[in-house]
Each structure stands twice: as C-alpha cells, then as structure tokens.
C-alpha cells in the first residue's frame, strides 16, 4: 500500500535571476514522475537547507549561473551536514567552469551537470544514485 515517490528540491541560490533552466528542469523531472519542490529565486544557503529538511527530500538540485558557486555551494553542503542530511544527493547545474568542479566535489556536491545535459540524463542519474529508505 506504500506509495513512495522520489522528492527533488530545485532551488536557485544567490542573486541570480536566470530561472528558465531551473523551471525547465523542474517541469522535466515532473514528467519523469518525480515530486519536485520548487522554491524559486534568491535562496540563501539557510533557506535551501531548511526546505530540504522540512520537505525530507531525497535530492537537492541547485541551479547557479551567477559565478558565486564557489561561495554558495560549499556553504549549502556544510549546512546540510550540520542538519544531519548526509544521505541527501546534492547536485548542481548552470555555468560552472571545469576548473572549479574538483573543489566542489570535495565540498560535497555529488554531481555537476553542465550545459547540454538532457533531462533524461539527470533523471537517470537520480534514479541510480538516490538513497534507499529504510522502513
């Protein structure tokens, strides 16, 4: 009788008004059968962590095109760890130079999707790597 759906939080941290990509991805993941919580623009790391915790999401997807990724993304990962959300998959997408990727992985971002990624690739990655619920 259990009906479980994968829950994904899509958020745009920082001062970046370019939300088309995030919305397209949210819509695409909806069509892949996920429950997508969309929180919109100008999220502080605190807001992202709080939403991830209250919504008990399996995946956090962060869209960032402003160049502030080296500041904001590690702070979000830090906050997630402090809140005990170690088992949540954290992914990022947008405009992120290749040179920054190793440091972001180091900080705790599980996967970074660049321009040209298809929705199917994102969905497949999530399905393959999402946590399993112990219940």
């Amino acid at each position: 009788m259990t009906d479980r759906r994968i829950k994904v939080l899509i958020a745009k941290p920082g001062l970046d008004g370019h939300d088309r990509g995030a919305k397209v991805l949210a819509r695409g993941l909806r069509d892949e059968g996920f429950e997508v919580i969309y929180t919109g623009l100008r999220q502080t790391p605190e807001m992202v962590v709080s939403a991830a915790l209250q919504e008990d999401v399996d995946v956090v997807g962060l869209s960032i095109l402003s160049g502030a990724h080296m500041t904001l993304l590690p702070r979000i990962c830090e906050g997630m760890r402090e809140a005990g959300l170690d088992d949540v998959l954290v992914t990022a997408g947008g405009i992120i130079p290749d040179d920054d990727i190793p440091a972001l992985h180091e900080a705790g971002i599980n996967r970074i999707f660049g321009p040209g990624t298809t929705i199917r690739q994102v969905a497949d990655y999530i399905r393959a790597n999402v946590r399993t619920r112990d219940r």
Binding site: T2, R5, R30, I37, Y38, T39, L53, Q54, D86, R135
Partner: protein, 342 residues
C-alpha cells in the same frame, strides 16, 4: 547514512515510537521523516498516527481554499508572519496536484513562504495530491495530526487550486477560509452552491487592486441574503453566514484582521480531547478520517483478493449481476474472511 533516531530494520511500532518521541522533543528532522511515512502510508506512518492521535486535539486546523492563482499561498505566508509576531508556532501543509499521467508533481507553494527559514517554530511541508480528489492528499489529515501532536498551535492547510465543488477541506478543518480574487465573476457566482457555501470566512485577496472593494461588497450582499430566512428554516441544515474580509499580500493590509477572525473562532472552540462533548466539526472530521481509512482498506483487500473477489468483478463486468448485489456479496465475504464485521 546518519540514521539518528531513524535506524533501520526495527519493528514499525518501535521505529514510529522513537521517531514520534524525537519529533515531540523538537527534532525537526525526525518530524519530517515521520511526515514522509504518513504521506507514503507506510506501517511506520500508520503506527505513528496511532501513537500521536490522542495528543493531537489542541491545534486550530484552518483550511485555506480557492481557485488557482487566487492568492492562497500569499495569504498563508502573510498569516504565518502575523501569527509569529504574537509568538505562536505555525505549521503549513501545502497541497499541489499530482500528474494523472506520470504521477509527478510540481510543488510550488514554498516560493511565497521563504521568510521563515531560520525560525524553528514555523514548519512548512508540501504534499502532492497523489490521485486523491477533493483538493487534499489522502494523508493530509494524518499529517495534520502529527504536527498538532508535536505542539504546533496553528495549522494552515492550503488546498490545491479548487474549482467550484472541491469542498473536502471543510470536513477536516475547524475553520475554512475561501480565498477569492477580485474580478472572478459576477453576483451569480456568489450565489452558486458549492465552495462558497463551506466558507466560515471569505477573504477577498489582492485588496490593493481596483475592484477589490466592490467584489467584497458584492460577496457580502449575496452571502448575507436570506439571513432572515434562516429563522424560518427550523431544524433544516442552514447555510453558513461567513464574514467577508479584504486583504492584500502586497501591502499587508487586512491580514491582521483575518488572523483575528481566525483567533475568535479558535477561542470559541473547545479543545477536543477525551471526555469532552465533541462538536459537529470534530464529529465530521472523525467521520472523514474513518471513511477514508475504511475505503482504503476495502480497496486494498479487494485488489489483493482471491478467486472469489475476482469472480464477482467478472460477473459485474459481464452484466451477469448488478453492482449493488455484487457490493453486498463482497462486503459479506470480507466480513467473513477476517472474522470481523465489514
């Protein structure tokens, strides 16, 4: 993973017990986990509601309903802010529709509710309707019980954007607020049966827009028509006579009055717990919950039923027997199968 109080491979009742204890002690992550179990209708979720229900009677459950885009989320966000100025803990259950095709959903109500991320006494949870009609999710009332038992005093339940007759929220909320945007129709809309009839309070939103005052005045006029007629109706069911208030999310005007109106209703309502005489609202909510669970259990048993159940379905499909006779036969079978009356 960092299992914390949610360690694996426990008996569901034990796991529910430790999660419930942690959630009541203020562990927000445990609360979030518990709500997932209730929402996913796991054995842990069911056990949790069994444990917590006795302590869930004190909160004021307020349903916020209305058409898509009418301003429900904005009003909810403004009410949360206003309630926090007087120090009350507030929880929000925000329901959005699931896709009937893929089962996916976009839950977007949080977009308007981001001001309280650092506030421990605000807890916002989105829920997909998961095929449930009526404007709610099947697990909404169970989730509200969990939140109430964890000490939230005011629980705002925001329905999916409704049409004219998704009125289920009125059967589970203590107070139902119908949100109406200006320019949503003429006076005839205001006298139609359905959504407006279940309102304890009507809030005209976007009160800073031209026409908002006029919309409120029209609604007031139409909804109070017949107040004198009420007395002549004797014991027959009477329509509610809701107050009509004007509010603006953009300026914040009127929000305090809406909260004050909700508080007046909360104050007039005796706290529901064992030993007190239940109100009509409490009885209606009890019935709605039990009917929901009964329907789910019957459906479950029918679907996993054996040859006999399938044979009855096949006979109805083939027009050999009528569906009423079949339903009676099934009920009799199910009652016999478990040794308990259906």
């Amino acid at each position: 993973m960092n299992a914390g109080p949610t360690g694996a491979s426990q008996d569901p009742r034990q796991r529910a017990g430790s999660l419930a204890q942690a959630a009541q002690d203020g562990d927000r992550r445990a609360l979030a986990r518990l709500l997932s179990d209730v929402e996913d209708r796991t054995p842990v979720g069911e056990a949790a509601v069994r444990i917590l229900y006795a302590q869930a009677g004190a909160a004021h459950l307020v349903g916020i309903t209305g058409a898509p885009g009418a301003g429900k989320s904005t009003l909810v966000a403004a009410l949360v802010t206003e309630a926090r100025t007087s120090g009350r803990s507030v929880a929000v259950l925000a329901i959005d529709p699931s896709s009937p095709i893929t089962g996916g959903a976009i839950l977007g109500d949080r977009v308007r509710m981001q001001a309280h991320a650092a506030d421990r006494d605000v807890f916002i949870r989105s829920m997909a309707s998961r095929g449930h009609g009526g404007g709610l999710a099947a697990a909404t009332i169970g989730a509200a019980s969990v939140l109430a038992a964890c000490g939230f005093e005011l629980i705002l339940i925001e329905t999916v954007g409704t049409g004219q007759s998704e009125v289920e929220v009125a059967s589970i909320a203590d107070t139902t607020v119908v949100v109406q945007a200006p320019e949503m129709g003429d006076e005839v809309q205001a006298i139609k049966a359905g959504l407006l009839e279940v309102a304890d309070l009507v809030v005209v939103t976007k009160g800073d827009r031209p026409g908002a005052e006029r919309a409120a005045a029209q609604l007031r006029a139409m909804l109070t028509v017949g107040a004198q007629h009420d007395r002549a109706m004797g014991d027959r069911p009477r329509p509610k006579r809701p107050d009509v208030l004007l509010a603006s999310g953009a300026t914040g005007a009127g929000v305090r009055d809406v909260l004050a109106a909700l508080d007046r209703r909360a104050a007039a309502r005796p706290t529901a717990h064992a030993g007190t005489e239940p109100s009509d609202v409490d009885l209606a909510r009890a019935e709605a919950q039990m009917l929901g669970i009964l329907a789910e259990r019957l459906r479950h048993r029918l679907r996993r039923g054996g040859q006999e159940q399938r044979a009855i379905l096949a006979r109805v499909a083939g027009h050999e027997i009528d569906p009423y006779t079949a339903a009676d036969e099934l009920l009799a079978q199910l009652a016999g199968a478990d040794g308990t009356p259906a």
